[in-house]
Amino acid sequence: MVTEIADKPAAHKDAPQHAQAAALSRQTTDSAALNTPGKTAHQPEAIRPDGTMDFSATSIYGKNSHGLETTVAAAQARPAEVAAPQAPGRPGDVQRAGNDALPKPSDTLASGVNPADVAQSKEKLEHAIAPDRQKEFQEQMNTIEHRNPPLTADQINQIYDKTTQLLTNPDNTSQLNQAERTQLASSMLKDIAHPNETDQGFHNTCNVTTLEKRLNAQDPVKFANMVTEVGLTGQYTAPDGKAIKLDAASLHPDAEAGYNANDSRTDGARNYASQIFDVATINEYWQHQQPPLSYSQVRPTGQGDTGERLTYPNGQEVKGPDGKPMRSPGLSTEAMGQIGKDLGMSGQYIISNAATDGPNNGAGTDKVENIDQFNAALAASKPPAIIMVNAGNLLFSGSGEQPDGWHVVTASNYKEGPPAMVFMSNQWGEKNDKWVSVADLYSATLPNNAPGGGGRRDDGGQGDGGQGQGGGQRGDGGQGQGGGRGDGGQGQGGGQRGWSRNDEVIRDEPYREWRQDLFDNYWKHSDQNPLNNPQNQNKPVDVQTQVSPLKAMLADAASRQDDIMMQVLNSRINDIMAGGN
């Protein structure tokens, strides 16, 4: 018996029936999956009760053969204020917003520093560069000296000095060979010269890539220090002095990071410096957590594998809420805020919609409830701000018919309207960096099926009115690590609950539940747990013995203002105090 996956565009015109069919099918398949030991519940999106599967709306390869017609039909089903702007053109087209003359921010250069003020460090650097790479390095240096936002001579001198160290390996400590260090130095200068152009490539690292872009816009010396330290020592010293150790495999460039600067494939690809930054910052976060996890970039072991691994101290892979290996950084906006805080970032610069990401605010985060608050947050934040968006939104997917998936981009150069505009830099390559209306970007902070979400709102030159409100419940309870919690993406226009493989940023509530599972799962089996000490196994362990190590961890989490970890630990302590285990 087989299930047919058929392309039947007509079925999509009847949205309620379609949703009902998908729901019925989901029940059937989820039950079957859950009846199999060790199985996880996948969401057979768009599978009809008769077993057929609709490719018409979420074609695996993009729009169906009725692409425009379907888009219009879907738009007509949306509230009027969302459906209005279905005219020819593409989402985010500057022409549609009437700003086709706006240059990209990186197109304008500053007058630059006095060459004499950086001459000494520059000369040392030039001597360290191999002759065949001189041109490439000179181009980056010239841009750094004239970039916007401009850098001081002192900053540039420090960056050049670090680059020279990286190239010369003065203490002979580096695990990287000369070619690798040259590649790392070149890409480091490139990311500093063009902060907006840093891309994530084929990795789930939008989360830390946006932080890298922000760091390079505001404090590139810190970026240069981090990359150089890792390149020369193989580890990174966190602000609290903890040595963050990186596995050897992650230190070497993966396939994308090995591209030469003039390779056409570099656009959209993650470069070597960005790889090192990603691995260092993600490990800096996870190695401070309980359980402490390690994030690695290994050789891909299959087609479609990004090579990302998140592991427990014993090397076992951490599983996602769906019970399958996580294979992504596993970060929420609050976790990103923690990383940003450790990088010295201040203010509320990670903007997400409370209807999507929950109301809790942590370090660096700003949860907005309407477009007015969104406008205010953009205008107030020191650019670039980081925006949590739905990659299934029309602005990114081109059709608005893709499943929801949570992602982050950066926004800078806010311009008051009408219509208010902002420069959005995605990490998907140059063509995805563009001016967009603030209203469109706000719409993208919502699930596709939320009022105000999914499609472009019409500014019509009339300003940014409207109050798009998302909503809906999130998280559907859990069964613990590996147990198949989470209902994954909801397929068509869904995704307001739980977590899905499309999420490169995990929403707040499912993130907290997942973290709680990780903690319980690890703690119950950890050698550090007094209950697992053989000496204690046959005699009762008093509550204080159980709680004291947790309280020590709580104090550590409190010192770092790690709200999520504090919640996890408090919950565990309360359980033990109440007589639980």
């Binding site: 996956i5 053969s65 299959g302």
Partner: protein
């Protein structure tokens, strides 16, 4: 490149009813829909469109390869080496990357699949240190009209630890899926 502007080659396909799927994952660089076996959830049949790391030159070779009558592509041939960037991680094979191959290519041939020529690749992802298999793999690569940077494939991937017998069992399922494909 905006993926949603390009039409995929497959209009419909048929999967066993007890297989489940992830939602489609789409970025500017790729689009992927994975379906899972009910018995081994690491066994996947995946529909994969990719622009990442693909070169126009390799796509031109793929176009040329698929335009000829079905035939075996000889081991170590220039054609096979030139195809490598179009094959994704499977392109990192012993012929294209002799010193650091992570894919052991066993078979490369073009064939007719429901009136359309496709490139069939069979092999295994391996640990480059001990050369042991990690994932058994077979795929058909499909021509994407009017694109010089996109590749589409439908692949089966089975952990090598399940053994070659299990792989062959799943390959039968995979071939049934291929036989059910209706092209656009």
């Amino acid at each position: 490149m905006d993926l949603t502007d390009a039409f995929g080659a497959i209009k419909s396909a048929t999967l066993p009813p007890d297989w489940t799927s992830d939602p489609q994952k789409t970025t500017a660089k790729m689009s992927m829909k994975s379906c899972y076996s009910p018995n081994h959830d690491e066994v996947t049949i995946t529909f994969f469109r990719r622009c990442d790391s693909v070169t126009p030159e390799s796509i031109a070779v793929l176009h040329s390869t698929l335009s000829r009558a079905p035939q075996t592509i000889p081991d170590a041939s220039k054609e096979l080496i030139d195809l490598a960037p179009a094959l994704g991680h499977a392109g990192n094979n012993q012929w294209a990357s002799p010193k650091a191959a992570t894919f052991r290519l066993i078979q490369a041939q073009t064939m007719l699949l429901r009136m359309r020529t496709v490139l069939y690749i069979r092999g295994a992802f391996i640990d480059p240190n001990d050369r042991k298999g990690i994932n058994e793999y077979c795929a058909v690569f499909v021509d994407v009209p009017n694109s010089d940077i996109a590749v589409e494939e439908v692949f089966l991937q089975v952990p090598s630890s399940l053994g070659i017998f299990q792989f062959e069992q799943y390959r039968k399922v995979y071939l049934q899926v291929l036989e059910s494909i209706e092209w656009r």
